[in-house]
Subunit: 355 residues, 2 copies
């Protein structure tokens, strides 16, 4: 997208909103000169702070929204708050006023509102949530991270198509490899869903990129660039990995405080330890993306800081600039042209075998 | 169990069998004076090595088994190998000759053979695989780790009962807290299975110990002593956590080689780093346990060393000594007495609400 575009920003979402959001936009405005933001939030709270941030105020148009969707609010209740900041930001995407939206607010509400108001792309059964994480061999894309608790084989194949495009546009890879998350028990080797999805992928235009099944340890090993799984497993895997990294981080802090020698050791190893910390910094991976909608929707972690929020804005920028949704449409067209692999009438995971 | 008992040991399972197994038994025999092992394997390969290990040879009775179940063998094919070392070791448990079995061989074959030959405990629908892992607040039990790819609410409740007993007998806790693994999406909060299982646990004799839903990051945070989940999610979570720990370990090795200052730092911090390494040592957590069978079945990691195998033997010992299966029977009786919570005729997850 070469013409100028606008991102809608929910000023009120997140633990430290609106200050964290505005400071994040100030960073983003410096990184992306010429970027335009439609900032939606409570004018009385947002305007004074915005005026104090030179770069952010130059990049933003402020739109008043009297209501806020709290974190405890159920999605059905959130749907009724038609003047909430998140809602008006999503409306701007649906109307075409903005190319995408970034919010650090209530995840469930964002998922539901985006699905209902922005709507799914033609040919996509279910949108998915994707994010990037660290591995021994570079960054890895994983999806779905919780948008769909139950998925069938068709959903998993669609996630593979969307994950491929995401890895191309956001990670800049030319032929990302794709793995389907499975269990290692020799007895069962997964259920029908994953076996069916693997079958389809092996005969699809993605066949050359499809690595086959991967296991939990392959995520951080970087065995493949894209990890495809259902939203229940993906959500648990993401948080388990984050938890394990946090555990080691906490233990290392204890190690380097355990003696005077260890304190000296910390000072000596500090440059390399800082690089390690930066590399694993959760803020660098902030910005989960709702894929499969008629617009770019990025969810920032609610507890992040300005730097993390700016990173979520980076992700939204990348997706718009690289025409993410048009590429998904092309990817779907390719995989569909290769044979009517889903029985459109049967719905669900009914496979039409290639004849 | 105060009378002497015997553990059957598959001498031929594991990447470095039989040597790793025999050296592991040598360590175990020192730790458990008076322990008796029925060692099953290829006599020509096992006897010479056994004779060279004083403590192991004093504790072992050797039984010849001409066949070995390889790692690539399917469980159905493994069932036909009636003279395999793993098979004869399992037969010894079924006949009552041994109280339990330890094998580092083919996981799927061990699961299938144990279920068919040793059989499930009365009242248990599906056996589960459990293991212990590290957390910020001490060791944590997680199950199922892959014995059952698909689970219903009844299975999850049985896993909670078995996990409670396992945490009591192996971790020595008096009232272990129990968490049901779920996703954090505010929109959906899991599927029917986990909601139904939570409902049952909240009104069961385990209610006071039931913490409710936990998420992936709660595993290493140690939020609860027991984590209950289905075998697909549990297998992925276990391996994802292990993978994340390995990633940080590899990165730390690079950090401490990155400069001369960093090498000096390593020497200074070494005692504390060694303690950390020992604490997270996968060998210390070796020994996944098949719960819900008429005997103790412990699966050692195939790639472990003698120290790791000895730890798997420790786990089997603990379970036999603390009358693990009798306690499960009592736990099940308690939960069943509190009301007929499963419709015996309906099968599956049909709940009979407490009246």
């Amino acid at each position: 997208m070469s013409e100028p575009f606008t991102l809608a920003i929910d000023a009120m979402g997140g633990d430290h909103a609106p200050e964290m959001v505005l400071r994040g936009l100030d960073i983003a405005a410096e990184r992306h000169p010429g970027a335009r933001f439609l900032l939606v939030g409570d004018e009385a709270k947002v305007a004074p702070l915005l005026n104090s941030l030179r770069r952010a105020s130059a990049a933003c148009t402020l739109r008043h929204a009297p209501d806020v969707i709290g974190n405890a609010l159920k999605p059905t209740a959130a749907l009724r708050l038609r003047s909430a900041s998140m809602r008006l930001a999503i409306d701007a995407v649906a109307s075409g006023e903005a190319a995408g939206v970034v919010s650090a607010g209530n995840t469930g509400a964002l998922l539901t509102l985006a699905k209902i108001i922005i709507k799914t792309l033609p040919g996509i059964d279910r949108p998915a949530m994707a994010a990037i994480g660290p591995s021994a061999r570079g960054d890895v894309v994983m999806l779905d991270l919780g948008a769909n608790v139950a998925c069938d084989a068709r959903n998993l194949v669609e996630f593979a198509v969307m994950g491929d495009v995401f890895a191309r546009t956001v990670l800049g890879l030319t032929r990302p490899s794709i793995g389907l998350l499975n269990v290692g028990s020799e007895e069962l080797k997964g259920d029908d869903r994953v076996r069916e999805a693997a079958e389809v992928l092996r005969t699809s235009p993605l066949a050359a990129q499809f690595h086959g099944f991967v296991e939990g340890h392959d995520i951080t090993a970087g065995t493949t660039d894209v990890i495809v799984t259902d939203g229940f497993t993906g959500n648990v895997a993401l948080k388990t990995g984050e938890g394990a990294l946090r555990l080691v981080g906490d233990l290392l802090r204890m190690v380097f405080r355990s003696s005077i020698a260890a304190r000296i050791a910390y000072v000596l190893a500090r440059p390399a330890l800082e690089r390690l910390r930066e590399w694993l910094d959760p803020r660098r991976y902030n910005g989960a993306v709702m894929l499969g909608l008629n617009g770019v929707v990025v969810k920032s972690h609610g507890g992040t800081d300005a730097e993390g929020f700016a990173h979520a804005v980076d992700v939204a920028m990348d997706m718009v600039v690289h025409r993410f949704n048009e590429q998904i449409r092309e990817g779907l067209a390719r995989i569909t042209k290769s044979g009517p692999f889903w029985d459109k009438n049967g719905g669900g995971a009914q496979l039409a075998t290639a004849s």
